[in-house]
């Protein structure tokens, strides 16, 4: 099943791990709004340095993990840098890139220092006002648990279907994998619904 269901929380314990998830989330929201209100090179550089310093207490491995998590940004950085080099407005390009990197780094920091369970508990707390609209927190918790349980199951089904195809054909299955995979999701869903009913309903 591979590393798929590992969470993105860092195994390196930092002081930030011990802060409540709600406080970190509120700080992140404020910080991000602030970033989009700033458009000076100096203020955005300071903001990026502040985020970098927030990573520092985690030590080297933690900071390296933080850098790796920024890697998916490179296509955007490249496009923006090339564009602004062409239009000869490097300062405007630097503002966009600094803001982007600072915003993503700050968001990653919260994810890296907050356990999945704490984040899910926070979401359930935030979703309380939805209860009168037909989404009691208990049902949300059940749905989230079902997804976490069934991602590996469906991945395994996809693997079995691929093997079954390979046993019959030398060509790769390509899109032919999709209908039976979707069907397996539907069959699992029917079984889960039956099991929930047998155990007193979905709450």
């Amino acid at each position: 099943m591979g590393p798929v269901m590992l969470t993105l929380t860092s195994p390196v314990e930092t002081a930030l791990h011990r802060l409540p998830a709600g406080a970190k989330m509120a700080t992140l929201c404020g910080f991000t709004v602030g970033l989009f209100a700033m458009d000076g090179l100096l203020s955005l550089t300071v903001a990026l340095v502040v985020v970098g310093l927030a990573y520092a207490p985690g030590g080297r491995p933690f900071m390296q993990a933080g850098l790796r998590a920024l890697w998916p940004l490179w296509p955007f950085v490249l496009v923006v840098a090339a564009w602004h080099a062409l239009t000869q407005a490097p300062a405007a390009g630097a503002v966009v890139i600094l803001r982007l990197v600072a915003a993503v780094a700050a968001a990653n920091l919260v994810t890296m220092t907050t356990p999945l369970s704490a984040m899910i508990a926070l979401f359930q707390w935030l979703a309380r006002p939805l209860a009168p609209l037909g989404l009691p927190p208990r049902r949300l918790a059940l749905a989230m648990a079902l997804v976490i349980r069934f991602v590996p199951v469906l991945l395994q089904n996809a693997g079995l279907l691929t093997q079954a195809w390979r046993a019959r054909s030398s060509r790769p299955p390509r899109w032919r994998l999709l209908p039976p995979l979707a069907l397996s999701a539907i069959d699992e869903a029917d079984r889960v619904a039956e099991a929930l009913r047998a155990r007193g309903g979905a709450g």
Partner: protein
């Protein structure tokens, strides 16, 4: 009720799996992930409301820190990236796809294809391009230029969404919550 919860959860899981299955290599030599196909299927199979809820459930778990987006990405950082418009557009795309699916009188396959084009491309790209434009401080035209790179793959996925949806209706009649009675 139990069926609603389990279908919404299993389709949220299906979106994740379609993004994680290592590059299904959908067409010869074109490795594209099928995650947006999962968004379309949520609409065509589950209908507007349940489809959008499945996508929201998927996004909540991504935000909570599970690496379920294509390429194993996840966490709060993906919502600060320039592609955030597509993420915000996902549930709306599933809703519109389902809405069209529930109302059109076309046969199942063509209906699912048309609904996916409207929801999974037209609506999704409006959000995606607006997001790129805001995050990268580019005009809408310039942002559209970046997004166009994904168009051929997504067009292919609308056809697949039509075929998969029609296949499901054939193999398990009564399974399309978007079209009771088919």
């Amino acid at each position: 009720m139990e069926r609603n919860v389990s279908y919404i959860a299993l389709f949220a899981a299906l979106i994740a799996v379609l993004g994680l299955v290592p590059k299904i290599d959908l067409a010869a030599g074109v490795p594209i992930t099928a995650q947006s196909l999962g968004i379309m299927l949520c609409g065509t199979v589950l209908g507007a409301r349940r489809g959008a809820l499945a996508v929201l459930l998927f996004l909540a778990l991504v935000a909570a820190g599970l690496p379920l987006l294509s390429g194993g990405r996840g966490g709060l950082g993906v919502f600060a990236q320039p592609s955030v418009g597509f993420l915000i557009g996902f549930p709306v795309a599933a809703f519109v796809t389902g809405w069209v699916m529930e109302r059109t009188t076309l046969a199942t396959g063509p209906a699912a294809w048309a609904a996916s084009v409207i929801g999974g491309i037209a609506v999704l790209y409006v959000f995606g391009i607006a997001g790129l434009s805001i995050m990268l401080e580019k005009s809408l035209d310039e942002a559209a230029l970046i997004a166009v790179a994904f168009l051929p793959g997504d067009a292919l996925k609308t056809v697949l969404a039509g075929m998969v949806t029609a296949g499901l209706a054939n193999m398990r009649p009564g399974t399309l919550l978007s079209r009771p009675g088919v």
